[in-house]
Each structure stands twice: as structure tokens, then as C-alpha cells.
């Protein structure tokens, strides 16, 4: 049971997300807005791919940080965080569970945003679209991993809604760099060797931040 404790947390969060669908709306809307505004603003630019890649990931990052602010912020507001902290589980489980549910939310947003580029953005679906999905998944995981952790830090501070993006920005740069450039290469159907470095960085980022945050989570919650 104890090894699956994080699954319980994630399942609870997923159920809450599904039920409180209104919470998802502003998040989706933010993502869509960034994408649409980006496509419109750069409609006359020759190079579609950089714009597409950049707006996709910036949209995901913005939308994601909205959702992530709620991750632990809402627990704190509701008063449920104390109950969570008294559960007989290693606190890392609480973190992993939150990452899982945040990851799902960001992935859902991505699955709405990505088709937009092909439907209205004038991009052609690349042959290597599975690679695109892989990059999106890895990037979403990285956002969730870092964001969930920082959400906990911000939840314990004042003006947490303004604080989370400030904390997130420096840590998420490597992720965005790798994700944006990798996405550009994949959209251009470039061979694997071209975007392999970016893929490796995404994987490295995800593993590093997941591991570090799981280890540090206990310290970030205790008094």
C-alpha cells in the first residue's frame, strides 16, 4: 500500500480536477489566448516554425503556472494541507501525487493547443508527430515537477500568486529552451540526430528535478 500512496493522492486530485471543471477553463483559455495572439501577431512572418514552437511552450508555461499555483495553494486555503501532512506516508508521496495530477492537467492543455497549430496555424502535420508528443509529454512533466515543488514553497509565503511565476522563471528556462528548439526541429521533420541533444536535456531535467524535489519535499513541508 505504502508504495502506491502517491497514486492515491494523484487519484484524489484527478477526481477533483474532473469534478471542478470550471477551474480548468481559465487555464485552457490562457493557453489558447497565448497561442492565438502569437499566431495573429506573427502572421506575416516567413518562419512559422519558431513562432509556433515558442508560442506553444510559452502558452503551456503560463497556463501551467496558473494550474500549478492551485496545486498546493488550494490545499493550504482549504485547510486540507494539515490533514495531508499528518498522513502516515513519506511526504515524497504527496509530491509525486501532485506532480502526476499537475502533469495530467498540463497535458490536457497541450492536447488542446497542439492541434490548433495544424487546424488554424497553417502548419503541416509532420511525419514525426509521435516525436512531437514525446517532447510535449517530457516538457509537461518537467513543468509539473518544478511547478508542484515551487507551488508548495509559494503556498507558505505571502502574495503567492505573484511569487510563483517569479520562482518558476529561472528554473524553467532550460526546460523551455530545450523544448522549444526540439519542437522546432521535429516540426521541420529534421532527423533524430538534430533534436537528440534537446531530448536528452529534457530527460535530464525531468529526472534531476523530480529526484531533487522528492528528496527536498520533506524539508519544504516540515516546520
Amino acid at each position: 500500500m505504502s508504495a502506491l500512496a502517491w497514486w492515491r493522492v494523484a487519484a484524489k486530485d484527478a477526481r477533483l480536477e474532473l469534478r471542478a471543471r470550471e477551474a480548468l477553463q481559465p487555464i485552457l483559455l490562457t493557453g489558447i489566448l497565448v497561442v492565438v495572439v502569437g499566431l495573429l501577431a506573427f502572421h506575416d512572418v516567413e518562419e512559422r516554425l519558431p513562432v509556433a514552437a515558442a508560442t506553444l511552450w510559452i502558452g503551456l508555461a503560463f497556463a501551467g503556472s496558473l494550474g500549478l499555483a492551485r496545486a498546493f495553494g488550494a490545499e493550504k486555503d482549504r485547510g486540507t494541507i494539515d490533514t495531508l501532512l499528518t498522513l502516515p506516508v513519506a511526504r515524497g508521496h504527496l509530491y509525486v501525487g501532485k506532480v502526476a495530477s499537475s502533469f495530467l492537467t498540463i497535458l490536457v492543455v497541450a492536447l488542446v493547443l497542439v492541434p490548433l497549430y495544424f487546424a488554424v496555424g497553417g502548419l503541416a502535420l509532420p511525419a514525426s508527430w509521435p516525436a512531437l508528443l514525446l517532447l510535449v509529454a517530457l516538457g509537461a512533466l518537467g513543468l509539473a515537477a518544478t511547478g508542484a515543488m515551487l507551488s508548495l514553497l509559494a503556498a507558505q509565503a505571502r502574495s503567492r500568486d505573484a511569487l510563483l511565476p517569479v520562482l518558476l522563471a529561472p528554473l524553467v528556462v532550460p526546460l523551455l529552451l530545450a523544448a522549444i528548439h526540439g519542437t522546432m526541429d521535429v516540426l521541420a521533420d529534421l532527423p533524430f540526430a538534430e533534436w537528440r541533444p534537446e531530448l536528452l536535456i529534457l530527460v535530464g531535467y525531468d529526472i534531476s528535478f523530480l529526484a531533487a524535489s522528492t528528496l527536498l519535499f520533506e524539508a519544504a513541508t516540515g516546520a
Binding site: 518544478t146 515543488m149 515551487l150 514553497l153 509559494a154 507558505q156 509565503a157 505571502r158 502574495s159 503567492r160 511569487l163 517569479v166 520562482l167 522563471a169 529561472p170 528554473l171 528556462v173 532550460p174 526546460l175 529552451l177 530545450a178 522549444i180 528548439h181 541533444p197 534537446e198 536528452l200 536535456i201 535530464g204 531535467y205 534531476s208 528535478f209 531533487a212 524535489s213 527536498l216 524539508a219 519544504a220 516540515g222 516546520a223
Partner: protein, 217 residues
Amino acid sequence: MRRWLAWMALFALGADVFLTLVMAPRAANFSAPLTQRIFYYHVPAAWVAYLAFGVTAVAGLVQLKRRDITSDAIALASAEIGTLFSLIALFTGLVWARQEFVGYDPLRDAKVVTLAVLILAYLAYFALRRAIEEPARRRRLAAVFGLLAALGVPLSYLASQASIHPDFTRADESLDPALARYLLFSLGAFTILYAALLDARARLALLEARQEEPWTT
């Protein structure tokens, strides 16, 4: 500040200025002769900026283990000094690079990107500290963030290396060994300066912390 440290820093810095501005020979492969000397200040400043961040992160690790106020005072002091030096490094780096490289584009330089991330990380660190009132919690959460940021900065360098082509490599690869001595001395002088500033600022931070919680030892 310890008296001897202050004197040492003063001496080292004075010697450094003299050596690099007066004694160092004109670099053959650098185009702009005068601004080339900024190099002797830029590289050490960047070195201190990263060193200071490393110290903040390690102090954070100690803080999490010991829960004391000294390690936190060191972390805070190092962060402040590091921010100052990273701004100096960024400014001097841009001035020098614009002189040195034709058509220099700072955004295509992995080192600029990493330095920018470092500065953002420092600023975020201070923002977090300011936002937490309870001292014990502030120390702990700042330490956690410091460690995470220490992970992010090297990753930023790798990420920008991977995605930026071409990369403006610094001329230190082809640095004349005669000049290398001056650079090395500069590095040493700046490190001593950092140590002196750290000592002074950390002591002050410790006093402030004791004032906030008078019962702590």
C-alpha cells in the same frame, strides 16, 4: 570584517589593478586594446558570481541539516554579493564582447543566457525570502530554493549550448600564456575580495538574525 582579510583584499585588488592596467602587455590577438583589459575583470567577476551561488547552495544544504542561523547568514550574504558580481560580469562581458566580435549577438551566447538565468535565480531567491515572515521557515524554504536553482543553472548552460549554434567561444581558448598569468592573478584577487565582502556581510546578517530572534545562539 576581519582586519587582515580586509587588508589582504585591498592589497590584492590594488595589485590587480596595477598589473592588469599598467603592466600587462598588449594582447596580440585582441582587436580593441583598451577594452581588452576589461576581460581581466569580466572573467573573475563571472567566476565570483557562480562561486557565490555555489556557496549559497551549499550553505543551504548545511542549513537544512543543522537548522542554525549561521549557515543562513552566509547564504544570504553570498547571494547579495553574487548578484552584484553577476551584474558586473554581465555588463563588462557585453562591453567587451561587442568590441571583440563582429556582429556579436548576446542572445546567441550560451554564457550570457546562463548568466541571465543566474541573475533571475538570485532575484527569485530574494523575492522568496522577502515573502516569508517566520524566520525558521524562511531559512528552510530559501535553502530549498537555493538548491533547486543550483540545479537549474548548469542545466541552463547545457540547454543553451545544445540549442544555440554557433556559439561565441571566448578567446580564452587561445589565450597567450603570458596573459594567462594576469588573468589567474585577477581571479585570485577577486576571490579574496569575495571572501572579505562575504565575511563582512555575513557577520551583519548574523547580527540581524539574532536581533530578530534574541534567544538563538
